[in-house]
């Protein structure tokens, strides 16, 4: 088990990053709204939803195959906003989940989307489906839904592993517009090859803020950017110290001690 006392400098850094994010959230909640850049993949969502409505075909959402964790909850958060766009057009949303715990959350998210769009009668709890908690049984079930329902758009957001290519390739074959986002590096190439748009890295976490313009989420995004700036500063100073130590060679002096002290602060 890891504890703060194992490495206080890292723990203090985590606290500082948390405080920066919280400060920006509170500032945004008090009305100081930041502006964030456009994300191409998210602009495609409205296009995908509109096309699905024109074609009269449903939209599929898959929050990955992870359990109830931050990644799945973030995916649900994004799906809530996409669901509102879908509900506004009176279209059908299908959600396939791999973890039974997510069934309840998924139902709540989709129901809330239809209710907030003023179309609660369109919500069908049978469209939030638990397929299986086994990876390839889930992939088989999701591929089956894509084939049978001929989904017009597919949103794959969350933790994906080897099943990513199976699901997205089947979506590609039925001609669905596909938008994917995952924190798993290993699956990004497959999504880039098969999907129309892919949200990279922290765009996954920025998506909900961009879609909702919710002050809390916007503040959080700006807080993350300031936190990144702090990390970048630490990395740049670390690079200078590391290069300085290499240039000094074996020379022991106050400068070398200072460089070493700084590097030890962030070395486990």
């Amino acid at each position: 088990m890891q504890h703060a006392s194992d490495h206080w400098s890292i723990a203090i850094l985590v606290l500082a990053l948390s405080l920066i994010i919280l400060f920006k959230i509170v500032t945004a909640q008090r009305g100081k709204l930041p502006t964030i850049r456009r994300i191409a993949g998210l602009n495609a969502i409205d296009e995908a939803v509109g096309r699905a409505t024109e074609m009269g075909r449903p939209i599929l959402m898959i929050p990955g195959i992870g359990g109830l964790d931050i990644v799945s909850l973030q995916a649900m958060n994004i799906f809530g906003h996409i669901g509102r766009s879908v509900a506004k057009f009176g279209n059908r949303t299908i959600m396939a989940v791999c973890d039974a715990i997510l069934v309840g959350i998924g139902e709540e998210v989709v129901r809330d989307a239809y209710t907030s769009a003023g179309r609660p009668e369109l919500f069908d709890s049978a469209d939030v489906r638990f397929l299986s908690d086994r990876q390839f049984a889930f992939a088989s079930g999701a591929a089956g839904i894509i084939e049978r329902e001929k989904v017009a758009a597919s949103f794959l957001m969350g933790a994906f592993y080897a099943e990513a290519l199976i699901i997205s390739e089947v979506g590609q074959r039925v001609g669905a517009i596909q938008v994917a986002a995952t924190p798993q590096f290993t699956q990004l190439p497959f999504f880039i090859a098969t999907c129309d748009y892919v949200l990279l890295g922290d765009e996954f976490y920025a998506a909900a803020a961009y879609l909702s313009r919710n002050p809390t989420l916007l503040g959080s995004i700006v807080g993350q950017d300031y936190a990144k700036l702090l990390i970048l500063t630490i990395v740049v100073i670390g690079t200078i110290c590391s290069s300085g130590l290499a240039l000094l060679g074996g020379h022991i002096g106050p400068l070398a001690h200072a460089f070493k002290w700084y590097m030890d602060l962030f070395t486990s």
């Binding site: 309840g104 049984a137 199976i166 976490y205």
Partner: protein, 280 residues
Amino acid sequence: MGIFHSIPHTNWHFYLALALTLVAGIAMLVILQLLPSQWRRPMIALVTFLGGLYYFAEFFIPVPHGHEGNFLSKYMDSVANIASVIGSFSIGLGIISLIGVHFRTALRQREGWGFSTVLLGAFAAMTAFTLLNEYAPHRTVVPRTGALHSPITNGDIYGVLFNGGLASLDSAMFALIGFFIISASYRAFRIRSVEASMLMVSAVIVMLGQVTLGSWLTGWLPRTGAASAFRFENMSEYILVHLNSPAQRAVTFGLALGALATSLRLWLSLERGLYFDQEQ
């Protein structure tokens, strides 16, 4: 939960404790459902905060010298078990959702009703034989001769269904990736833009750098000196170590901060309107 560890599973006390936990859990869920929505949200926020506070305090409270953890560390397993027990209630929801969808499809003979019937049959068979395998294993033994008896099937019907059926089907699905990779690669490597061309060139260099053919193609170049940089294995290593790794680390920083921010918002219930109602 932790208390069950001390009770032998054959003892009736174990089953009593199990039943009481189940009743208490269901009672809590019923109470939560009966609560007015304006009370439900603060209650969930409080439980979430207390759960997060435990992990926060356990991490930040200093560990006494010579110990493996602080005074909160010994409850780590119990807290994790409580989370597992709460989560296990939702498995019922998943099963209800699964059976409901396929039962309706089979009953109304909608498109694909045959698959739904197979699923329901497989579900019933796996449940029955898993329970029998656990509590009456002698009743599920398959004859020692015939196709069903093999080292893979373990000599019982549960083994036939699980190892012979489910695991084989899993492998078959996994094998599909091989075919899909070919068509996906074809699309990815089509040169449509500058970025796609760069992807194509770097992918070819990395692939050649990993195989004997690459070493053979540039094997005539010297192993040392400036020209050695153009050997495929060296170019491949340069792309992976000096271009790919820093980019991945930069993305990792972003992802970690995103996860930290989302955790903070959930822990402190800052994100009103996420699952329960709209932000005011």
